[in-house]
Every structure is written in structure tokens, then in C-alpha cells.
Amino acid sequence: MDIGTVMNTMRDPAGVPAQPVVFQILMVLTWVLHIEFVHLALGAAGLAIFAFHRRRHGPHWERLSLALTKVAKVAVSLLIVLGVGPLLFTQVIYDPQWYTSNVLSGRWAIAFIFTLIVAYCCWFAFYHANRAGARRYIGVYAWIALVLFCLDGLIMHALSYQALLPQQWMNWYAPGGVVDTRGAALHAIQWPRYVFIMGLSVPGIGLFLIAYARYFAVRADYEATWLDFVRMLGRRLARWGFALSIIPMLAWQAVLPVGSGLLSDPIGWLIVAILAAMALWMRGDKDAKDATHGYLPLAGGVALLGVLAIWREVIRVHYLRPLGYDIQTYKVQVDWPSTVLFFATLAGIGGLVGGFYLLLLYRSGRTQGLYTADRSVSRMGTGAVAVLGVWIAVFLAYGIAISVRDTFY
């Protein structure tokens, strides 16, 4: 049975409610947001544990451990919610691949949920216990959490990678012709890819620390020695992290399928070049204050992740298109009201309400003591409540109108 025909038949018969490329772009963009927080969470968790075990080497390490424990806690919340976006958009255009991969490893897909809950609860236990003079054994909670976070990353990696190998599906589902409905195995892991993407957590937390030092530089209660310690540590982690990431990246390049054309694609090599450039940039002059001590390196890191997200999609297309699967041929049945709903919500709620929250957090964090909103922030707050009221009113009014029409006409 031709696997391309199988995949195309498995597409949802309802079609998609907008051009597939729209979902593809959203999938790539939302994955960037998601993976940023994956790196922040893993990097912060790893460094928090490292700093926890180095507390006796100076007060900065203890302070660093406490601060990063909190950072990891918040970052995990955000990586989960931000992971929903790419998960959703993937299912729209790559539904045959994603669903099949999940079903074939069903127990792992379910285990992902419970291990993530256990991991997060362990991290919270560490967060509550990690105080000045905390006992050494509480580090066990953090280690369990970190190991489970890495396991969850591996599960997600395997589910994504298995989706690229449809020729193997039947061998995994019915090895030797005997059907196995247990979903008990992770069938395919591409270790270089997994190690590379997870390993970016090291330079990722480095960039975060550089930005952290810049962010709190205006606070009098954040001493210069502490901020210098954080900044220098960040630079070191970023420098070595980017440099060492080149190794698994090259290994990933080396295991790309021969004849797929991927090895000659410039995007993969662009990632290698960006890694090298970032490592050199972070090497810079110790006393340079502007270029490597602000938010710019963080922007550079985000740009790298943007290229990585595109590269993942290029790889997917190179794997699936020769088999006859092309998202451009997905049946389109445009649904304008729900399309407008999303983009209006993204702009109005994501932009105004989300913007209000982020601005408040940003400004209050840079203020020592009580932060009093200025006129523009205050108006933004009023606008946030108003836009939500309007959104709900319009939504319900539209719903009532539709319900009345559908019931009586």
C-alpha cells in the first residue's frame, strides 16, 4: 500500500478552515515561543541545581540557586501553555503523522502527562524547601524533576521524529505481521537532534543571565558585585554553550538521510554559522558594557531559534514530500467568522491584556518598593478590562443570534 496515499486518505475529511500555509507559519512561530521557555526552564533548573550544590563556595551561588529555582518554576508553566500552540497547529496540517505517531507510542503519550505532573510537583517541593541553609537532600527533588523533564523532552522528540518516518509505521504497529496495540515503545530517536535541541538550554540560560543583569541594574538593592557575577557567568555559559552545541549540530547534519538534499540546504549550515558567531560574540571584551551585556544577545538567541524552527519544518517537508504528502494540497474550506475570532482575540486580548500584564511585571520588577502605575499603564489596565467586557458581550450576542436563527429558521 502506497504510504503517500495512506497519509492523504487519513487527512481529516472536513479540510482546513484557512490556507495551510497560515497554519504552517503559526506552527513555526509558536514553536519558537515554546522552545524558548523549554530552554529557559531546563537551563534554569540545571543551573539552580548546580548552584545549590556549590553553595559553600560563596553567597552568590546560594542566591543564584534561589533565583533560578523560581525562574524554572515560572518557565515550566509557560512552556506548557506555549506548547499548546504548536501542538494545535501541527494537528491541523500534519494530522496523519502526529496522530499515528502518538497512537503507536500511546503509553508514552499518556506517561508524558503524569511524569510532567510528578516533575513539576517535585520542582515545587524543591522550590519550597530551597531556602538559606537548606539541607542537601532536598536536591533529590530537583534531580528527579530535571530527569523527568528531560524524559518528557525525549518523549516529545520521539513523537515528532516518528511522525517523519511513515514507511516504518506498519513495522512498528505489526512487527512480523502481529498487531501490537499496546503503544508500549518509543520507536525512533534521533539522538543528535535531541541532544542539540536540549543542549541549547546551556547557552539559553547564559543569555538569560546577561539580560537579568541588565534588567536589575537599575535596582539599588541589587549590588554590582552580584550583577557582575551573574553577567560573567552568563557570558561563560553562553560562550561555551554555543561553541559546544556545534558538535551535536554537526552530528545531526551527519545523520540526515542521504539523497534527501538536506545536507546541501543552506539553512542547516546557517545554524552552524550562527552558533559560531554567537560563541565568538560572547567571547568579546570583558569590560564591554553594551553589546554583550544587554538584551541584544537574547535577541540573537531568539533569532537562532527562529532559524531552527524553520529548519525543523524544512526537514519535515524533505521527509514527507517525496512520499506524496504536501500540505498545499489539503482541502480548504475557509471559515471567516472563526478566523476573525482568532486574529481579533490575538490582537485584542493577547496584545492589550497580555501586554498590560507583561508591562506591569516588567515595570514593577524594576521598581524597588511599591510601583504606582503611570497614566498610560493605568489606561492600558482600564482598556484591558473594557476589551474583555466587549469581547464577551459580542461573543454572547453573536451566540444568541446564531442559536435563535438555527432553532427557529
Partner: protein, 469 residues
């Protein structure tokens, strides 16, 4: 047509895949309803604190907020996508149907959800760190955003039951699917229930307050809100029952209410008495008691409700057009979707499902048992445990441990073939596949004949409900 767009099958022996989904779903419903209800309690309490100049009320909000961060924004956040994962592996075509009808609605909910997660951290950590008026705006916007997530998901959940009229089948429009006949009733029920859950958790948090006067004030604030929420939820639930399709009513009357009605009344009574007691004796709201009451009401109240909602949908998983076993049950001209039931009848599942090994595509004497096992998993396992004693409507018990292949085949060739049982799908299969299933099920039942859990009553089991006394 030589192939249908079906997926491989994932099966959890014993409890069945639907129970995995149910367990995750119940955890999520408790956590998410609590958080939405709590967001309004925060907004009301903070408004009161601001107007009456009672900043001590903010202590409770801070403690409740910290509790929510763990309970709702960890467990709730993870189990939300967790339901997706569970239904993906249990019913991939079902979730695909929902995704492709509601992707923009879900994407809008995702925007809200992201805003909500940022908001809860801002709300909890900025309490006392920003000016009170700005914080109040933050809290009210958080409450409205939280309720909006409920607005957006209820339309999808209610569509899973049915659209309620013919229009969506003709237009295929998301609006017609979303604002179905079930929507407002379910929204009202969940909105009332969220206040009950939030009040119950609030009592638990309040019981930890050291200031007795503050505890009394908070408990007396929470209890009436919980009672009113409960009353509203019950009224809307009665309205909800009026919006159900006939297959759901039959399922409700014959299978669900006899099992759950008494327990539901008891849970409602216990919850009401508990809230009244708290209102009357706020100083006697002890943590152990509050925890026990919350756990009891959350487990014994939400589990039956979710189980009933899931069961009443049967045999469909979405919009009365996709059966639980992945087969498209009817035409949806508005979406260009064609029923697959007759195609399955003509060719059989073994030939049409692309994930059937070559040697099982044709039933032979040698492979009949193996083919029957696979067919039973494909056609039945989404709604039934296959093992004796399984909790999910297990097939051996449903067949009263019948070992007579002809009798089982007669059921397959009769009520199942013609879809005459309202809560069962129409499964019309070629005769070789009917025989293979009958042989497999009889073989399973034979393993139990030495010590059957109940006396065999095969005729009653295979008769349509309407024929039974």
C-alpha cells in the same frame, strides 16, 4: 474505494482507553473549574477590600492564589493538553474532527490561556507590590479572561454531544457547530459548578487562616456564593437535560441514572449541608474536614457528571457524525464529508483500514481468531473493555459470558447491523468478519465459563433495550 482514513488502534487492557481519558478529564475539570471560579472570588473580595478598606482580605487572596498556582496552573495546565493526548491515542479521528472544525476557536482559547497563566503569576506576585487600583484592574481582567476560556471550550464540548439541528450538517460553519442547542445549558451548569468548586477550595484555604475574624469573614463570604452557584448549576443542569438527543436520553434513563442518580443527589445534599454549616459555624471549618469534603465532592460529584456526559454521547464521539470506533457515521454535505458505514458494510474493516497486516486482510480458518481479536479492538474497544471484569462496559459481561458463537453472531447480524440500539453504533460488517468477531468473543467468554460472575442470560443481553422489560 479501497481504503478509509483510519488510524492504528491503541488499547489499554483492563480499564480501556476511555477510562484513561476519563481520569485525566476529571482531574482537569476539578482544577480548571476551581481556577475560573476562584478568579471571580478574588475579584469580588479584592473589590470589597478596596471599597471597605480591609487589606487583610488580600492575605486570603494571596494564600488562595499560591494554592491555585500548584493545583490549577500546574495540574490543571498539564491535564488540559493531557486530555488532548488521551483522546488522540484513544480516538484520533474524533479529535481530528474537532480540531479541524474548531481550530480557530481552540487557538483563541490558547491566547486566553496564555494570558491567564501570565495573569495568575502577576496577580499573586504583584499583590502589595503595585498600587491597589491597578491591581484591581489586573484581578478583574484575569477573572474575565478565565471565564472566556470556559466560554470557548464549552461550545466544543457541547458540540461533541450534538449540534441539535440540521443546519451545521448543511453549512459546515463553525458558528453553527459551536453555538449548538446544548451550549448555553452547559455553560450555565459549568458556571454554577465553578463557584461551588471555588467555594469548596476556598473553605479549605480559609481554614488555614490564623486570624479568626478574617477566617469568619472569608468563610461567610464564600459559603453563600457556593450555595447560589450550586443552585444555579442544578437549574441549568435540568435545562441541559432538555437539550439532549434521544440516544442520550435512552442511555441516561436505562444505564446512567439507575447507577448515578442516588449518588448525585447525595453529593448535592452533602455539598449543600457543608456550605450551610460553614456559613453557620465558620470557626468550625477545620482543615481536615474541609479537605475531606472537597475530596468527596470533587471525586463523587465530578466523576459521575463527566462519566455521564461521556457515556450519553455514545455511540458518537463528535457531532453525531463520528462513531467512537472511527467510522464516519453520516454525511455532512457542508463539509464534503461522506458516511463510511455502507462502505464498511460492503468491504469490511479489514480491507479498508490501512493498518491491517496483509495476512489478516482476508479471514481464513487459520487466522479467524486473530482477525476477530483485531476486529473487536477496532470496532468495539473505544467504548468497551474486552477483558472479563473490565470496568468500561466490558464485552464479556454485556454478552453475559455467552460462548455460543451463533448467538453472538446473531446479535452482530441483527441489532448491530441495523443500528437499532440507540446508544450503539451501526456496525454492519461482511459475514466473514462477523464470524471472526463472534469466534473471538466466544473464546474470551469461554475463559470465564468455569466461574461466571453472573448467570448467563444471553437473550436479554442481545435484545435491543426497547424490547426488554
Amino acid at each position: 474505494m479501497d481504503m478509509l482514513g483510519m488510524y492504528p488502534t491503541f488499547y489499554v487492557p483492563g480499564i480501556g482507553t476511555a477510562w484513561v481519558m476519563g481520569i485525566i478529564g476529571v482531574i482537569h475539570v476539578v482544577a480548571s473549574h476551581t481556577s475560573v471560579g476562584a478568579s471571580f472570588l478574588f475579584a469580588l473580595l479584592e473589590t470589597r477590600a478596596w471599597r471597605e478598606k480591609k487589606p487583610e482580605l488580600l492575605v486570603f487572596i494571596k494564600q488562595y492564589g499560591m494554592f491555585l498556582l500548584v493545583f490549577s496552573y500546574i495540574i490543571g495546565s498539564i491535564t488540559g493538553p493531557g486530555i488532548w493526548y488521551a483522546i488522540t491515542v484513544a480516538s484520533p479521528r474524533g479529535v481530528s474532527g474537532l480540531i479541524h472544525n474548531f481550530v480557530w476557536v481552540w487557538a483563541s482559547e490558547w491566547v486566553y490561556f496564555t494570558v491567564e497563566v501570565i495573569g495568575v503569576y502577576a496577580l499573586v506576585y504583584l499583590l502589595g507590590k503595585i498600587d491597589p487600583k491597578t491591581h484591581l484592574k489586573l484581578t478583574w481582567s484575569f477573572a474575565l479572561a478565565s471565564w472566556a476560556t470556559m466560554l470557548l471550550i464549552v461550545g466544543i464540548l457541547s458540540f461533541m454531544m450534538w449540534p441539535g439541528n440540521d443546519r451545521w450538517y448543511r453549512t459546515g460553519a463553525t458558528s453553527d457547530a459551536f453555538f449548538n442547542v446544548n451550549f448555553f445549558a452547559q455553560l450555565g451548569t459549568r458556571t454554577g459548578a465553578m463557584f461551588v468548586m471555588a467555594a469548596l477550595v476556598g473553605l479549605l484555604v480559609a481554614s488555614r487562616l490564623k486570624d479568626a475574624a478574617l477566617r469568619r469573614s472569608v468563610v461567610r463570604f464564600l459559603a453563600p456564593i457556593g450555595l447560589l452557584g450550586g443552585l444555579f448549576a442544578v437549574l441549568m443542569f435540568l435545562y441541559y437535560l432538555r437539550t439532549l438527543p434521544s440516544n442520550a436520553i435512552v442511555m441516561l434513563n436505562t444505564h446512567l441514572l439507575p447507577v448515578y442518580a442516588k449518588a448525585m443527589v447525595e453529593v448535592f445534599t452533602v455539598a449543600t449541608l457543608w456550605l450551610l454549616f460553614a456559613w453557620w459555624r465558620p470557626h468550625q471549618v477545620y482543615t481536615s474536614l474541609a479537605l475531606a469534603m472537597f475530596a468527596f465532592i470533587a471525586v463523587f460529584g465530578v466523576w459521575p457528571e463527566e462519566r455521564m456526559r461521556e457515556s450519553m454521547r455514545k455511540p458518537y464521539v463528535a457531532g453525531q457524525y463520528i462513531y467512537g470506533n472511527q467510522v464516519i457515521a453520516r454525511d455532512v454535505p457542508g463539509k464534503g464529508i461522506a458516511s463510511e458505514v455502507d462502505t464498511v458494510a460492503a468491504h469490511g474493516l479489514l480491507k479498508l483500514n490501512p493498518f491491517v497486516p496483509t495476512q489478516l486482510r482476508q479471514v481464513t480458518d487459520a487466522n479467524e481468531l486473530e482477525a476477530g481479536k483485531l476486529l473487536t479492538k477496532m470496532a468495539c474497544a473505544n467504548c468497551h473493555s474486552l477483558e472479563p471484569g473490565g470496568p468500561l462496559r466490558n464485552l464479556p459481561a454485556k454478552l453475559h459470558y455467552a460462548t455460543d458463537e451463533d448467538m453472538i453472531a446473531a446479535f452482530l447480524r441483527g441489532p448491530l447491523k441495523y443500528g437499532s440500539q440507540p446508544y450503539m453504533p451501526r456496525i454492519d460488517l461482511p459475514d466473514d468478519e462477523v464470524r471472526a468477531i463472534a469466534r473471538y468473543l466466544a473464546a474470551v467468554d469461554r475463559t470465564q465459563t468455569a466461574n461466571p460472575p453472573s448467570g448467563p442470560q444471553p437473550l436479554a443481553a442481545i435484545q435491543p433495550v426497547s424490547m426488554r422489560k
